[in-house]
């Protein structure tokens, strides 16, 4: 269910209407069901993965903090997991509700391999968890902590390894497998990538890691934890929420205030405007160049890369804005995920402004545990590279993402080498020269854009060809293949630039709200107008859904 679809508008209207009249407990149950409906809209079967991850991490959280899982929670978790296997994978949902009611027995898929695997996994986990419970409870605390952290990491990253990376590694090793006499096709899994799997696994994993570090107390109710994992606004494309930020808000009574509704609506409007008018508007131009099978001129590569920088920012930050706005309407604050990233003057600043929920996740759970910058310069560079390469791989199972991560690592290392790490936070305060700042921003933006070329490229050959074209080594005299931008994108980009510059200069993320009312009204009217214009653009799935 896309945020920019009529289905979501109807879905959210119904959920919100019910939300406003229900008490807290009812609200949370509603939000949990809504999360499952929202996610199941893509494919009901993938809900089993969410439930599996939920049950494992809920169990692990309790084991980590209390050394045991009370019998009631064990029963609840076990029943929930097995019921989910049957309900989400063991029933043919393609028949629709009418089909299920008309012929319930025919809708059972328990003879199908997928359903059998799901049941085996569910029952296996239930047995393993319950049978090992006594042994684990009796273990020394530190050992138990390590075992339980391992279980959580293994299950969550195991999902990613199987569903996201397995075929990538098989394809990458195809030559080796073939040289050993094997058929790579036999090893490939015939599965589709569950939407947003990287987001909810990281979110769930952050909970167990934080409980393991003693930073938060585990929740004792499965329903609350299930809601934390399946809370629908950030479920498929972030922000990757932390338990210490989101969970307390889910557990406390909430009151929806007018101010929240107003700013939530503004976030939704602005997010939709960015996605529909701008990102979807420039997408055909980007696709024309990156989808071309023929040589492309350097100018076209530069234009398409620049437009992709606009597209990915508006697409992803648009999603984050809508998610934050929808959540704010319900009185729940999500993390800020973007802070004007293209106004960064260096790579270190860029990663404090771009996809903040991921970069801070990688910093807290990967870079710092690896030693961060505490173990000497050489180790710091190695840690930076490792973190960024794995961060690149997080985005997708393809070598260009690895290359993009490597490139980002190189930029960070290069910047550290030049500055000795001293400039790391200089941008956050102090007097500066606006002209010099603008030049530094423009200079670094070129590097950001080249990174996007690596990110968007469809093959290594294309990276080489496009880089050569940019450097003037490509074929000459080629006609331009970039189509004209729709009006919505042109007027949208103009508004975006003005708003972002004003926001940057005022250092206030909600600069618009401080403007005189007529001006605020004009901005809203302009955004609505551009959004309405943009509704004619062919809808494109949010880029980050594939991650």
């Amino acid at each position: 269910m896309l945020f920019n679809s009529l289905e979501f508008a109807v879905f959210f209207a119904l959920v919100y209407a019910a939300y406003l009249v229900l008490p807290l407990r009812g609200q949370n149950t509603l939000l949990l069901l809504a999360g499952y409906v929202f996610y199941g809209w893509w494919d009901v079967r993938f809900l089993f993965l969410i439930v599996f991850s939920t049950c494992v991490d809920f169990w692990v959280g309790l084991m980590l903090a209390e050394g045991r899982v009370p019998a009631r929670q064990r029963w609840t978790t076990s029943l929930f997991l097995v019921a989910a296997a049957i309900a989400f994978v063991g029933i043919d949902h393609t028949r629709g509700l009418a089909g299920l009611l008309a012929e319930p027995q025919g809708a059972l898929l328990l003879g199908e391999p997928t359903a059998q695997w799901a049941l085996i996994a569910a029952i296996g986990l239930v047995l393993a968890g319950n049978l090992s419970h006594g042994t684990l409870a009796a273990m020394p605390a530190e050992r138990r902590r390590r075992v339980m952290i391992f279980v959580s990491v293994f299950v969550n990253l195991g999902f990613l390894a199987v569903f996201k990376y397995f075929n990538f590694f098989i394809d990458s090793a195809a030559q080796l497998i073939a040289s050993l006499g094997g058929d790579p096709a036999l090893f490939r899994l015939h599965i589709i990538l569950p939407v947003g799997i990287s987001f909810y696994t990281f979110q769930s994993l952050s909970y167990t890691l934080d409980v393991g570090r003693g930073l938060i107390q585990p929740t004792s109710r499965l329903r609350d934890f299930a809601l934390f994992v399946a809370y629908f606004p950030p479920l498929v494309a972030g922000p990757i929420e932390r338990a210490r930020h989101l969970l307390p808000q889910l557990l406390e009574a909430r009151r929806v205030r007018l101010r929240q509704v107003a700013s939530g609506c503004w976030l939704i409007l602005f997010g939709l405007f960015k996605k529909v008018a701008v990102a979807d508007g420039v997408a055909p131009a980007v696709d024309a160049v990156f989808g071309s099978s023929a040589p492309v001129s350097g100018t076209d590569v530069a234009i398409a890369t620049l437009l992709f920088a606009v597209q990915i920012y508006c697409d992803f930050s648009g999603y984050s804005d809508i998610a934050r706005g929808v959540s704010r309407l319900m009185g729940i604050e999500l993390m800020v995920n973007f802070r004007l990233p293209y106004f960064s003057k260096n790579p270190s600043e860029f990663w404090r402004r771009w996809h903040i929920s991921l970069s801070s996740w990688l910093r807290d759970y990967l870079y710092i545990p690896l030693g961060g910058n505490r173990k000497g310069e050489g180790r710091t560079y190695a840690n930076l590279m490792t973190t960024m390469v794995l961060g690149g791989l997080w985005h997708g199972a393809a070598w260009n993402y690895v290359l993009w991560g490597f490139y980002q690592g190189l930029l960070l290392c290069g910047h550290r080498l030049l500055t000795g790490g001293r400039e790391a936070r200089a941008e956050d305060g102090g007097a500066s020269n606006p002209v010099a700042d603008a030049l530094r921003i423009l200079f670094f933006f070129v590097f950001v854009c080249y990174g996007w070329l690596l990110f968007r490229a469809v093959s290594f050959d294309q990276i080489v060809a496009f880089t050569a074209a940019l450097l003037g080594f490509g074929p000459s005299g080629l006609p331009s293949i970039v189509p004209k931008l729709p009006l919505s994108a042109i007027v949208g980009i103009a508004l975006l630039v003005v708003l972002d510059v004003m926001q940057y200069r005022s250092k206030r993320p909600d600069a618009v709200l401080g403007w005189p009312r007529p001006l605020q009204g004009a901005v809203i009217a302009y955004a609505v107008f551009a959004l309405v214009m943009g509704t004619s653009n062919a809808p494109v799935q949010f880029i980050y859904f594939q991650f």
């Binding site: 023929a294 009204g521 009217a525 309405v532 004619s536």
Partner: protein, 384 residues
């Protein structure tokens, strides 16, 4: 200040902001309507902004403006593509030239012209309509053969039947008025269905421009036209077709345009997807039966049939995949654009989606090669 009072102030401030926003939107709407009205004369082209703001006007409102009481008061787009007007003309012989009658749309006409430029031995006479689907071309071809049987001379040696991949979805329509929402071309044509292995015609309710004039003048007649379109034309949507007060708002027109595009995209996807043409009984089998019928009728008239499979958009080789085996099995000559102007290379296309001149020349060369070879299956009798 007490909390209730603060909330009251906030509410008032919010309402003021919303009122300003609403006011600016209304002003923008009004400004567009006043500053960029569509021209009164249907033959005067509107400027770019007027055209843009007019895209979402209802089909009926556009037809009322475009179709005047006489041809002189009718826009050129409304005069184009009519089978009864454009498919009966005589084709006299020309000494020393091989004449091709080319059926289809602008793509096929461009290729015919490119062939003429490439090799003066060939002369191309085009029959088509703006973005015409295969059912329009087929009706035009039938009309021509019927006219020839009635004595209208047709000295063409070759029948080139052009099929445009993106226009195949038009098999589900009966008029260009519904398929071309933004700039409707009102020409009508039948739909075809396959029954017992044969094509059956479902006649369009608007076979002539006069039929539209009568419908626009008579609500009862218009209701009958709409009822027929609603039954058989998948592109027809009452909310997109009927004129109403919402036509007065530029903003609402934009929303309607988006709704129309959404509707058309959904239909297009249901016909042609990333993996080729969908397995629809009202598309693939109809098209296959149609090309066989084209070949049979052309051969019976002593002409050589050549199918021109034109791939545009993101169609790849979809037409080749759908029709190639049928054409090969029946020994029908065909030329595909997929190798000479692959859709994966945007350099083959200009901004409006048509082929570049260079691409047209390459395709024309391929067509000439095919024409210079003997036909796979000779015509039933030598041309007169």
């Amino acid at each position: 200040m007490p909390r209730a009072a603060t909330a009251g102030v906030r509410r008032k401030a919010l309402l003021k902001t919303l009122a300003w926003a609403g006011g600016f939107l209304a002003l923008a709407d009004l400004t567009i309507n006043l500053a960029f009205p569509p021209p009164d004369d249907p033959r005067t082209p509107p400027n770019a902004i007027a055209l843009y703001s007019d895209y979402g006007r209802s089909i009926e409102a556009k037809l009322r403006r475009d179709i005047g009481a006489t041809d002189e008061r009718t826009s050129l787009i409304a005069l184009a593509g009519w089978v009864d007007r454009g498919c009966r003309q005589a084709i006299p012989a020309e000494a020393g030239r091989r004449i091709l009658s080319v059926y289809g749309m602008s793509f096929s006409a461009d290729i015919g012209e490119a062939l003429e430029k490439l090799d003066p031995r060939f002369r191309s006479v085009s029959f088509g309509g703006p973005g015409a689907p295969p059912n329009h071309s087929f009706k035009c071809l039938e009309t021509r053969f019927d006219a020839a049987a009635a004595g209208v001379p047709d000295e063409s040696e070759v029948v080139v039947f052009g099929i445009l991949a993106s226009a195949v979805k038009g098999l589900l329509s009966m008029t260009g008025a519904t398929t071309g929402f933004e700039r409707p071309s009102p020409f009508g044509y039948p739909r075809y269905v396959v029954e017992g292995g044969n094509l059956r015609e479902l006649p369009t309710p608007v076979p002539t421009l006069q039929a539209w004039r009568e419908a626009l003048a008579s609500p009862a007649r218009m209701d009958a036209v709409e009822a027929e379109l609603a039954r058989h034309d998948h592109f027809y949507e009452a909310a997109l077709f009927r004129s109403n007060a919402l036509d007065a708002s530029a903003l609402v027109r934009m929303v309607r345009r988006a709704a129309a595009q959404d509707h058309h995209r959904a239909l297009a996807r249901s016909v042609l997807g990333p993996s080729g043409f969908a397995d629809r009984p009202d598309v693939g089998p109809v098209l296959q039966a149609m090309v066989l019928s084209v070949a049979d009728r052309a051969r019976a008239a002593g002409k050589r049939p050549v199918l021109l499979l034109i791939h545009d958009g993101a169609s790849g080789r979809a037409l080749e995949t759908l029709l190639g085996p049928t054409l090969d099995a029946a020994g029908i000559d065909w030329v595909s654009t997929a190798d000479d102007a692959p859709t994966s290379d945007p350099a083959n296309f200009i901004g409006d989606g048509h082929f570049t001149d260079e691409a047209n020349q390459r395709i024309a060369r391929r067509l000439r090669e095919r024409l210079d070879r003997p036909p796979r299956t000779p015509p039933a009798r030598a041309p007169a």
